[in-house]
Protein backbone atom coordinates (compact mmCIF):
# COMPACT_ATOMS: atom_id res chain seq x y z
CA UNK A 1 0.00 0.00 0.00
CA UNK A 2 1.36 3.39 -0.75
CA UNK A 3 1.76 5.78 2.13
CA UNK A 4 -0.48 8.48 0.73
CA UNK A 5 -3.47 6.20 0.82
CA UNK A 6 -2.57 5.09 4.34
CA UNK A 7 -2.75 8.65 5.65
CA UNK A 8 -6.23 9.00 4.19
CA UNK A 9 -7.53 6.84 7.02
CA UNK A 10 -6.35 9.51 9.42
CA UNK A 11 -9.40 11.47 8.32
CA UNK A 12 -12.05 10.60 10.95
CA UNK A 13 -14.90 10.45 8.43
CA UNK A 14 -12.95 8.24 6.07
CA UNK A 15 -11.93 6.04 9.01
CA UNK A 16 -15.54 5.50 10.05
CA UNK A 17 -16.63 4.78 6.48
CA UNK A 18 -13.87 2.24 5.94
CA UNK A 19 -14.27 0.50 9.27
CA UNK A 20 -18.01 0.28 8.63
CA UNK A 21 -17.15 -2.22 5.94
CA UNK A 22 -14.08 -3.83 7.54
CA UNK A 23 -15.15 -4.19 11.17
CA UNK A 24 -17.80 -6.95 10.73
CA UNK A 25 -15.27 -9.10 8.88
CA UNK A 26 -12.50 -8.56 11.43
CA UNK A 27 -14.89 -9.21 14.31
CA UNK A 28 -16.24 -12.38 12.69
CA UNK A 29 -12.77 -13.65 11.91
CA UNK A 30 -11.64 -12.85 15.47
CA UNK A 31 -14.55 -14.78 16.99
CA UNK A 32 -13.87 -17.72 14.70
CA UNK A 33 -10.11 -17.88 15.27
CA UNK A 34 -10.22 -17.23 19.00
CA UNK A 35 -13.01 -19.76 19.43
CA UNK A 36 -11.15 -22.34 17.38
CA UNK A 37 -7.86 -21.78 19.21
CA UNK A 38 -9.37 -22.00 22.70
CA UNK A 39 -11.63 -24.97 21.93
CA UNK A 40 -8.72 -26.79 20.31
CA UNK A 41 -6.47 -25.96 23.22
CA UNK A 42 -9.00 -26.87 25.90
CA UNK A 43 -10.57 -30.02 24.44
CA UNK A 44 -8.19 -31.53 21.92
CA UNK A 45 -4.66 -31.22 23.28
CA UNK A 46 -2.87 -33.88 25.32
CA UNK A 47 -1.58 -33.26 28.83
CA UNK A 48 2.08 -32.47 29.33
CA UNK A 49 4.03 -35.29 31.00
CA UNK A 50 5.41 -32.87 33.59
CA UNK A 51 2.74 -30.22 34.01
CA UNK A 52 -0.36 -32.34 33.53
CA UNK A 53 -3.47 -30.56 32.30
CA UNK A 54 -2.25 -27.14 33.51
CA UNK A 55 -0.41 -26.84 30.21
CA UNK A 56 -3.80 -25.93 28.70
CA UNK A 57 -3.53 -22.54 30.43
CA UNK A 58 -0.79 -21.64 27.95
CA UNK A 59 -3.44 -20.96 25.27
CA UNK A 60 -4.65 -18.01 27.35
CA UNK A 61 -1.51 -16.98 29.18
CA UNK A 62 0.97 -16.55 26.32
CA UNK A 63 -1.36 -14.81 23.82
CA UNK A 64 -2.68 -12.36 26.45
CA UNK A 65 0.87 -11.57 27.59
CA UNK A 66 1.84 -11.01 23.96
CA UNK A 67 -1.06 -8.62 23.44
CA UNK A 68 -0.38 -6.82 26.73
CA UNK A 69 3.01 -5.75 25.37
CA UNK A 70 1.89 -5.24 21.77
CA UNK A 71 -0.98 -3.00 22.88
CA UNK A 72 1.52 -0.71 24.62
CA UNK A 73 3.75 -0.78 21.54
CA UNK A 74 0.79 0.20 19.38
CA UNK A 75 -0.01 3.04 21.78
CA UNK A 76 3.62 4.19 21.57
CA UNK A 77 3.51 4.23 17.75
CA UNK A 78 0.14 6.00 17.50
CA UNK A 79 1.29 8.51 20.14
CA UNK A 80 4.36 9.28 18.03
CA UNK A 81 2.17 9.67 14.94
CA UNK A 82 -0.01 12.12 16.87
CA UNK A 83 3.00 14.12 18.04
CA UNK A 84 4.57 14.27 14.58
CA UNK A 85 1.57 14.48 12.22
CA UNK A 86 -1.29 15.48 14.56
CA UNK A 87 -3.89 13.08 13.20
CA UNK A 88 -6.75 12.88 15.64
CA UNK A 89 -7.58 9.27 14.79
CA UNK A 90 -4.09 8.27 15.86
CA UNK A 91 -4.39 9.81 19.31
CA UNK A 92 -7.88 8.39 19.75
CA UNK A 93 -6.69 4.92 18.70
CA UNK A 94 -4.10 5.04 21.48
CA UNK A 95 -6.83 6.00 23.92
CA UNK A 96 -9.02 3.18 22.61
CA UNK A 97 -6.28 0.57 22.94
CA UNK A 98 -5.31 1.30 26.55
CA UNK A 99 -8.23 -0.43 28.32
CA UNK A 100 -7.83 -3.44 26.02
CA UNK A 101 -4.15 -3.63 26.95
CA UNK A 102 -5.06 -3.29 30.62
CA UNK A 103 -7.45 -6.26 30.44
CA UNK A 104 -4.86 -8.33 28.53
CA UNK A 105 -2.28 -7.59 31.24
CA UNK A 106 -4.81 -8.58 33.89
CA UNK A 107 -5.57 -11.87 32.10
CA UNK A 108 -1.86 -12.63 31.77
CA UNK A 109 -1.31 -11.92 35.49
CA UNK A 110 -4.35 -13.91 36.65
CA UNK A 111 -3.77 -16.97 34.48
CA UNK A 112 -0.10 -16.82 35.47
CA UNK A 113 -1.03 -16.85 39.16
CA UNK A 114 -3.49 -19.72 38.66
CA UNK A 115 -0.84 -21.65 36.73
CA UNK A 116 1.86 -20.84 39.24
CA UNK A 117 -0.09 -22.15 42.21
CA UNK A 118 0.08 -25.88 41.30
CA UNK A 119 3.42 -25.66 39.43
CA UNK A 120 5.55 -23.52 41.74
CA UNK A 121 3.46 -23.95 44.87
CA UNK A 122 2.74 -20.23 45.09
CA UNK A 123 0.28 -17.76 43.58
CA UNK A 124 2.83 -15.07 43.28
CA UNK A 125 6.61 -14.84 43.17
CA UNK A 126 8.65 -11.69 42.62
CA UNK A 127 10.06 -13.19 39.49
CA UNK A 128 11.32 -10.60 36.96
CA UNK A 129 8.67 -11.43 34.37
CA UNK A 130 5.79 -11.33 36.83
CA UNK A 131 7.04 -8.13 38.39
CA UNK A 132 7.46 -6.43 35.01
CA UNK A 133 3.87 -7.21 34.11
CA UNK A 134 2.66 -5.81 37.41
CA UNK A 135 4.56 -2.61 36.64
CA UNK A 136 3.10 -2.55 33.11
CA UNK A 137 -0.34 -2.82 34.72
CA UNK A 138 0.42 0.30 36.79
CA UNK A 139 1.56 2.17 33.67
CA UNK A 140 -1.75 1.36 31.95
CA UNK A 141 -3.68 2.60 34.98
CA UNK A 142 -1.80 5.91 35.05
CA UNK A 143 -2.18 6.43 31.29
CA UNK A 144 -5.95 5.78 31.38
CA UNK A 145 -6.38 7.98 34.46
CA UNK A 146 -4.58 10.89 32.75
CA UNK A 147 -6.87 10.65 29.68
CA UNK A 148 -9.90 10.65 31.96
CA UNK A 149 -8.72 13.61 34.04
CA UNK A 150 -8.24 16.21 31.28
CA UNK A 151 -11.25 17.88 29.68
CA UNK A 152 -9.71 19.43 26.56
CA UNK A 153 -9.26 16.69 23.93
CA UNK A 154 -6.14 18.07 22.26
CA UNK A 155 -4.42 18.80 25.57
CA UNK A 156 -5.23 15.28 26.76
CA UNK A 157 -3.87 13.79 23.54
CA UNK A 158 -0.64 15.79 23.85
CA UNK A 159 -0.05 15.01 27.51
CA UNK A 160 -0.87 11.30 27.26
CA UNK A 161 1.36 10.95 24.19
CA UNK A 162 4.32 12.38 26.06
CA UNK A 163 3.49 10.24 29.09
CA UNK A 164 3.39 7.17 26.82
CA UNK A 165 6.83 8.04 25.41
CA UNK A 166 8.42 8.72 28.79
CA UNK A 167 6.59 5.73 30.28
CA UNK A 168 7.97 3.43 27.59
CA UNK A 169 11.53 4.42 28.45
CA UNK A 170 10.90 3.91 32.16
CA UNK A 171 9.07 0.61 31.55
CA UNK A 172 12.15 -0.67 29.72
CA UNK A 173 14.42 0.62 32.51
CA UNK A 174 12.18 -1.11 35.05
CA UNK A 175 12.44 -4.36 33.11
CA UNK A 176 16.24 -4.29 33.39
CA UNK A 177 16.15 -3.04 36.97
CA UNK A 178 13.80 -5.84 37.99
CA UNK A 179 16.04 -8.43 36.33
CA UNK A 180 19.01 -7.09 38.25
CA UNK A 181 17.13 -6.84 41.54
CA UNK A 182 15.77 -10.36 41.44
CA UNK A 183 19.12 -11.91 40.60
CA UNK A 184 20.44 -10.01 43.58
CA UNK A 185 17.94 -11.90 45.71
CA UNK A 186 17.86 -15.35 44.22
CA UNK A 187 21.27 -15.79 42.59
CA UNK A 188 19.69 -16.43 39.21
CA UNK A 189 17.36 -19.20 40.34
CA UNK A 190 14.45 -18.35 38.08
CA UNK A 191 11.04 -19.90 38.49
CA UNK A 192 9.92 -19.01 34.98
CA UNK A 193 8.84 -21.80 32.73
CA UNK A 194 10.30 -20.88 29.36
CA UNK A 195 7.53 -21.33 26.84
CA UNK A 196 8.37 -22.63 23.40
CA UNK A 197 11.29 -24.63 24.65
CA UNK A 198 11.18 -28.06 23.01
CA UNK A 199 7.45 -27.65 22.57
CA UNK A 200 5.83 -30.30 20.40
CA UNK A 201 3.73 -29.40 17.37
CA UNK A 202 0.59 -30.72 19.13
CA UNK A 203 0.95 -27.84 21.61
CA UNK A 204 2.38 -25.30 19.19
CA UNK A 205 -0.33 -25.31 16.51
CA UNK A 206 -3.32 -24.51 18.74
CA UNK A 207 -1.15 -21.91 20.47
CA UNK A 208 -0.51 -20.17 17.14
CA UNK A 209 -4.25 -20.24 16.34
CA UNK A 210 -5.06 -18.80 19.76
CA UNK A 211 -2.41 -16.08 19.32
CA UNK A 212 -3.92 -15.14 15.96
CA UNK A 213 -7.31 -15.05 17.67
CA UNK A 214 -6.07 -12.66 20.36
CA UNK A 215 -4.45 -10.41 17.73
CA UNK A 216 -7.69 -10.28 15.71
CA UNK A 217 -9.73 -9.68 18.85
CA UNK A 218 -7.43 -6.78 19.72
CA UNK A 219 -7.71 -5.30 16.22
CA UNK A 220 -11.52 -5.61 16.21
CA UNK A 221 -11.86 -4.07 19.68
CA UNK A 222 -9.48 -1.20 18.90
CA UNK A 223 -11.28 -0.41 15.62
CA UNK A 224 -14.65 -0.38 17.36
CA UNK A 225 -13.42 1.63 20.34
CA UNK A 226 -11.63 4.13 18.08
CA UNK A 227 -14.93 4.71 16.25
CA UNK A 228 -16.55 5.30 19.63
CA UNK A 229 -13.84 7.78 20.63
CA UNK A 230 -14.18 9.64 17.30
CA UNK A 231 -17.93 9.95 17.84
CA UNK A 232 -17.48 10.95 21.49
CA UNK A 233 -15.09 13.69 20.44
CA UNK A 234 -17.50 14.98 17.77
CA UNK A 235 -20.32 14.87 20.29
CA UNK A 236 -18.35 17.04 22.72
CA UNK A 237 -17.57 19.52 19.95
CA UNK A 238 -21.25 19.73 18.92
CA UNK A 239 -22.45 20.16 22.49
CA UNK A 240 -19.88 22.90 23.08
CA UNK A 241 -20.95 24.68 19.87
CA UNK A 242 -24.62 24.43 20.83
CA UNK A 243 -23.91 25.90 24.23
CA UNK A 244 -22.04 28.80 22.64
CA UNK A 245 -24.94 29.54 20.28
CA UNK A 246 -27.51 29.52 23.05
CA UNK A 247 -25.40 31.56 25.40
Amino acid sequence: MNLNTLWEYANPKKFIQTTDRVLPWVAGLAALTLGAGLVWGFFFTPDDYRQGSTVKIIYLHVPSALMAINAWLMMLITSLVWIVRRHHVSALAARAAAPVGLVMTLIALLTGAIWGQPMWGTWWAWDPRLTSFLILFLFYLGYIALWAAIENDDTAADLTSILCLVGSVFALLSRYAVNFWNQGLHQGASLSVAPGERMAMTFKLPLYVSMAGFVLLFVALVLMRTRTEIRARRLRVLIARQRMEHA
Binding site: G52, L60, M224, A232, Q242
Partner: protein
Protein backbone atom coordinates in the same frame (compact mmCIF):
# COMPACT_ATOMS: atom_id res chain seq x y z
CA UNK B 1 -15.23 -32.70 28.51
CA UNK B 2 -11.56 -33.64 28.69
CA UNK B 3 -10.21 -35.34 31.77
CA UNK B 4 -8.29 -32.60 33.57
CA UNK B 5 -7.11 -34.79 36.45
CA UNK B 6 -6.08 -33.16 39.71
CA UNK B 7 -5.51 -29.77 38.08
CA UNK B 8 -9.16 -29.37 36.98
CA UNK B 9 -9.76 -26.42 39.32
CA UNK B 10 -6.77 -24.48 38.03
CA UNK B 11 -7.49 -25.02 34.35
CA UNK B 12 -11.22 -24.38 34.65
CA UNK B 13 -10.82 -21.23 36.74
CA UNK B 14 -8.19 -19.87 34.35
CA UNK B 15 -10.50 -20.36 31.37
CA UNK B 16 -13.58 -19.10 33.23
CA UNK B 17 -11.84 -15.93 34.47
CA UNK B 18 -10.34 -15.12 31.08
CA UNK B 19 -13.59 -15.69 29.20
CA UNK B 20 -15.49 -13.53 31.71
CA UNK B 21 -12.94 -10.71 31.38
CA UNK B 22 -12.89 -10.85 27.57
CA UNK B 23 -16.70 -10.99 27.33
CA UNK B 24 -17.02 -8.10 29.78
CA UNK B 25 -14.57 -6.03 27.72
CA UNK B 26 -16.50 -6.77 24.52
CA UNK B 27 -19.89 -6.02 26.12
CA UNK B 28 -18.69 -2.71 27.57
CA UNK B 29 -17.14 -1.70 24.24
CA UNK B 30 -20.27 -2.61 22.23
CA UNK B 31 -22.66 -0.88 24.65
CA UNK B 32 -20.61 2.31 24.67
CA UNK B 33 -20.29 2.18 20.88
CA UNK B 34 -24.06 1.91 20.44
CA UNK B 35 -24.81 4.61 22.98
CA UNK B 36 -22.35 7.02 21.37
CA UNK B 37 -23.81 6.37 17.92
CA UNK B 38 -27.40 7.08 19.00
CA UNK B 39 -26.37 10.12 21.04
CA UNK B 40 -24.55 11.57 18.08
CA UNK B 41 -27.47 10.86 15.72
CA UNK B 42 -29.90 12.55 18.10
CA UNK B 43 -27.87 15.73 18.42
CA UNK B 44 -27.07 15.89 14.70
CA UNK B 45 -30.77 15.55 13.84
CA UNK B 46 -31.59 18.27 16.33
CA UNK B 47 -28.96 20.60 14.88
CA UNK B 48 -30.29 20.01 11.38
CA UNK B 49 -33.87 20.93 12.34
CA UNK B 50 -32.66 23.93 14.37
CA UNK B 51 -30.51 25.39 11.66
Amino acid sequence: MPDLGKYADAVLSAYALSVVLIVALIVVSVLRSNRMRTDLQTIEKKLKTDG
